[in-house]
Symmetry: C2
Subunit: 194 residues, 2 copies
């Protein structure tokens, strides 16, 4: 069974090492971890690079049986948008979806911290300077993310990891792999290549 | 034909007025705009509110023929994560997808502004203080978003709107509705209810 390993670690200089470490955890549970990879550079290609990258990643997702998404907050109160897109994509295909975050603080508290003194009361809740409500569901990100994980039969693993290890600690990730192995063992592969 | 109207305007106090305005534009093009709505409050429900909200929005998406996503940057360099999840979801279902943003600055420039003086060189590009690369595809957000729109046969409409009108100006939205009407006229509905 193949698991798509979504997350913003692709932006780190040593992402190949992180990919290998994640794939080793998957292998220990009998799973094949598919880390998103860019297609080879092709300066003369008819399509721009970003279209070729997108097509490759979409094909990799379709070829996987499930997704584990690193939803650790990225440059703001929420997860990396590329990872969130991929989570929505895999949920729509009906594939099991698992997520993790290495920041334990809830979405509401993180959003309030980002808004700072500009926060204003709205009824029993809060809004920002633009009048946008702060979600108050006591979740770890926008409700669509945890809602999607829940609907997909998955879970969100949460750990508080020191900032310097936030993008490399695999404790919560490993809990997702365990959960994925349990769920996938009980069902046939959804992709013909597996 | 029914169009799912995704965007963070749901967080505004006057979102009902914005929904009505968007639906009027859709109606002028012969389309039915479906604005995400929360299910009625049910304090005694077996499931928590966020699960019920998620289920309703997912059902609304499945009942639509296409999506128009408001990808205007929300509380950071990227779009609202709920909207991004929905875009990925609809793309995976093979439905036409359109997006718009009322901020013309590119993702790279917005990300660099958010990083500020902590930005460091990495090769010919830039990375943040955590060593995370700044995407350099000259797009308006993470490449998965524009890649998904492109693969779905849609487009991204971009306008620069003054900050005070950013969540209410419907110029770029209207261009998406025009494009959606053109695309949908050429194909049968993908949902049985339409």
């Amino acid at each position: 069974m193949r698991i798509y390993l979504a997350g913003p670690e692709v932006f780190l200089a040593d992402c190949a090492e992180i990919a290998a470490a994640k794939q080793a955890v998957c292998a220990a549970y009998g799973l094949v971890g598919i880390f998103p990879t860019e297609p080879p550079s092709a300066p003369d290609a008819a399509e721009p690079a970003w279209v070729r990258v997108y097509r490759q990643l979409e094909a990799e997702m379709r070829g996987c049986d499930a997704i584990i998404a690193n939803l650790t907050p990225f440059r703001g109160p929420s997860a990396d948008p590329g990872t969130v897109f991929e989570l929505g994509f895999m949920r729509a295909l009906g594939k099991p979806a698992f997520g993790y975050t290495n920041v334990a603080a809830r979405f509401g508290a993180r959003t309030m911290a980002a808004i700072g003194p500009a926060a204003r009361r709205r009824g029993e809740g809060w809004e920002d300077a633009e009048g946008m409500l702060v979600e108050a569901f006591d979740l770890h990100d926008n409700l669509m993310l945890e809602g999607g994980l829940h609907a997909a039969g998955g879970c969100l693993a949460v750990e508080e990891v020191p900032a310097e290890a936030r993008w490399r600690d695999l404790g919560a990730f490993t809990r997702c792999v365990e959960a994925a192995a349990r769920v996938l063992r009980a069902q046939p592969s959804s992709v013909s290549s597996a």
